[in-house]
Symmetry: C2
Subunit: 389 residues, 2 copies
């Protein structure tokens, strides 16, 4: 594994990512929902495929909480395939032989877009908690500046799952003219109380780590890895389903015949979770985890439209494809249905598919044939309507 951490300078990917990067000067500011100007700021992104002459074949992919811009290439830190390699690539549903695919790291992230691990130009030190709290709308505002920079007037599609789906909904609401079609997957128009609760546990785990130091750990050459690992472990359970855990692990023991009567990882599920925790801290910044979870907590799209989600989409010409999964208890189908009802009430064009699977919330990232077929079919139909060959 390539070293990501460079303790004196923060995270090496945060300031000098292995990605394309646009640095917006103070003359081109980003004013966040908290009312703070965070310019100058940077957006790191990846692209795949070729933008056509009409600039009409661009697909923006929005990543989830712990995702990043490395959708379909080998990740520079983990050296593993991109997080949506099943969906994006030559001949895949989001076909890079046909579409120009863009994915940028979210504001608040740690892979090159301005976030708490980035160097604050005002102090020469990592921002830490000096960065204002970021919202989903801030993430989308920043993406819109990137799309402007690339000279693209209208995106053919905006797609993403989980927090990525929140961004898709925000795009469709904020910039209806700029989104020909939209695929929000396994997501919600507002974060639930239960989900805020799980996020709060993760944040408390990070802040309870004495190495967190109020967010100033890089300057002290430590990192709150134990707290971040616990946060990841708790969250990871919510990405899976009871059935999938039962099928995959059950009560099977790890490399032993009988329980050890100890606090070792006797059960396979324990060993698996510990691995999830310890590998995550190699690639993710603890402060970013605070910022990005907070952005999700604050997301309540209807609140910006006098409490009416239908109003957020009123008169929209965007074509929507909403997807949920039967065993997803983090973003259950009821959340997707609420979006569908609002789109219908707003008069939008919407398809809705609930996919039967036991793989839980993580299904959106996995090789689920019905998801891939649905995405392919929706995009082909939309491409014909858009006049893409």
């Amino acid at each position: 594994m390539a070293p990501m951490a460079n303790l004196q300078g923060g995270l090496s990917e945060a300031d000098n990512p292995n990605s394309l990067i646009v640095r917006f000067p103070e003359s081109d500011p980003l004013i966040t929902d908290a009312g703070v100007d965070i310019s100058p700021f940077a957006i790191a992104y990846q692209t795949y495929g070729v933008l056509n002459a009409a600039k009409s074949n661009a697909i923006l992919i929005c990543h989830a909480l712990t995702g990043d811009q490395h959708v379909a290439n080998i990740h520079p830190v983990t050296e593993k395939p991109g997080w949506w390699s099943t969906m994006v690539g030559p001949g895949k549903p989001i076909d890079t032989d046909r579409y120009f695919v863009i994915c940028s790291n979210v504001v608040g992230g740690c892979l090159g877009t301005t976030g708490p691990a980035s160097t604050n130009p005002g102090t020469g030190k990592p921002y830490g908690l000096d960065l204002p709290v970021i919202t989903i709308r801030d993430m989308v505002r920043a993406q819109a500046k990137l799309i402007d920079h690339l000279g693209i007037e209208q995106l053919f599609c905006v797609a993403g799952g989980s927090m990525g789906g929140m961004q898709v909904l925000q795009w469709a609401a904020s910039y209806p003219q700029r989104v020909f079609c939209a695929m929000p997957i396994a997501t919600a128009a507002r974060h639930s109380s239960q989900n805020i609760a799980f996020h709060e546990v993760g944040r408390q785990a990070i802040m309870a780590d004495p190495n967190w130091l109020g967010g100033r750990y890089f300057e002290n050459e430590v990192r709150p890895t134990k707290g971040l690992a616990v946060a990841r472990m708790a969250a990871h359970i919510t990405y899976l389903s009871d059935e999938a855990l039962h099928r995959k692990f059950g009560r099977k023991l790890q490399d032993r015949e009988s329980p050890t009567f100890s606090f070792d990882a006797d059960f396979q599920i324990e060993s698996y979770l510990r691995h999830q925790g310890s590998s995550f801290v190699e690639r993710f910044d603890a402060n970013s985890y605070l910022y990005v979870t907070r952005a999700m907590d604050y997301f309540d799209l209807a609140a910006d439209y006098d409490g009416s989600l239908a109003r957020a989409f009123k008169g929209s010409k965007t074509r929507f494809c909403i997807v949920s999964f039967t065993s997803d208890w983090l973003f259950p189908t009821s959340n997707s249905r609420a979006i569908v009802h609002a789109l219908n009430a707003g008069g939008a064009s919407v398809s809705f598919v609930e996919i039967e699977t036991d793989r839980g919330h993580d299904a959106f990232l996995l090789d689920v044939p019905e998801l891939l077929a649905t995405s392919r079919g929706f995009l082909e139909s939309a491409a014909r309507a858009r006049g893409l060959a």
Copy 2:
């Protein structure tokens, strides 16, 4: 709140509880499933009501993970009403005017029964992790010694929810002649992979706290309160339901009109969870949390009967009343159905009620009229069969 912690000497309730206590000498040992003799050992317990001359009206209540023996009296540490005051008391379904009610602190607990916070007579210091890992069967073995000590041959009823229900099932399997009727509520005959996973997160949170010190915190006059609070917060979410959280908290803000764009507890659910964490650490020992969660993880009743749960109950004369709750996702109804099927296959007498409620796993502790009515009816019928006036 009365001070529970006495840092130099461990927890004051652990060695000198505000409860009745039986101290079993080395001549009357308890050999645990781990093969370790933990004698001399103590059991702390509460009783309510009067044992009749025939000693036939005793009900043993088994408490859950973070419960204790203070079922229906003011708790000596928190000064709050006992944890099952809705169910137990004069005129209540478990009527202390009629029954002699016993509840003992489990082995591994921290309220007076031998546990990791108790003084190890061999060293004069708290056991910490020197106590062997305890199982549900060990808890029940210890309770059986208490029941022997009280001169009771057969319990009229053994009742409990969650981990208490596991003990009820173990009692019925280990000592079928000694249990006239049994009420295992919101429980399972084996702990699921998902539930082991949640427990492991809690344990990792405790062990990640630098004040944990390998379990030797009392001698160092510190306590891993931050880690234990995080463990409690994560667990507490699993005791509630998504619907109940939505109804009770939704996205309501705490004492403010609009979000603060900070990491403060903006949302009521955050404030509530933080309170759950901080109040829990006043009354519970972190090492006990490790031991008692581990006991639940290891519970798999069928494994002791060649993998057949039906065999555990074969020929049982005990009358069973199984209760589950529709919104309990920690111990879902499918777990209760598996118990019912095994009892039926074993030829036992069994009633089963799934109660419609949105209150999640915690419903067993709450004023849920259908639970109280079911319990009352079941006990009245069993009392007639037992010849209790």
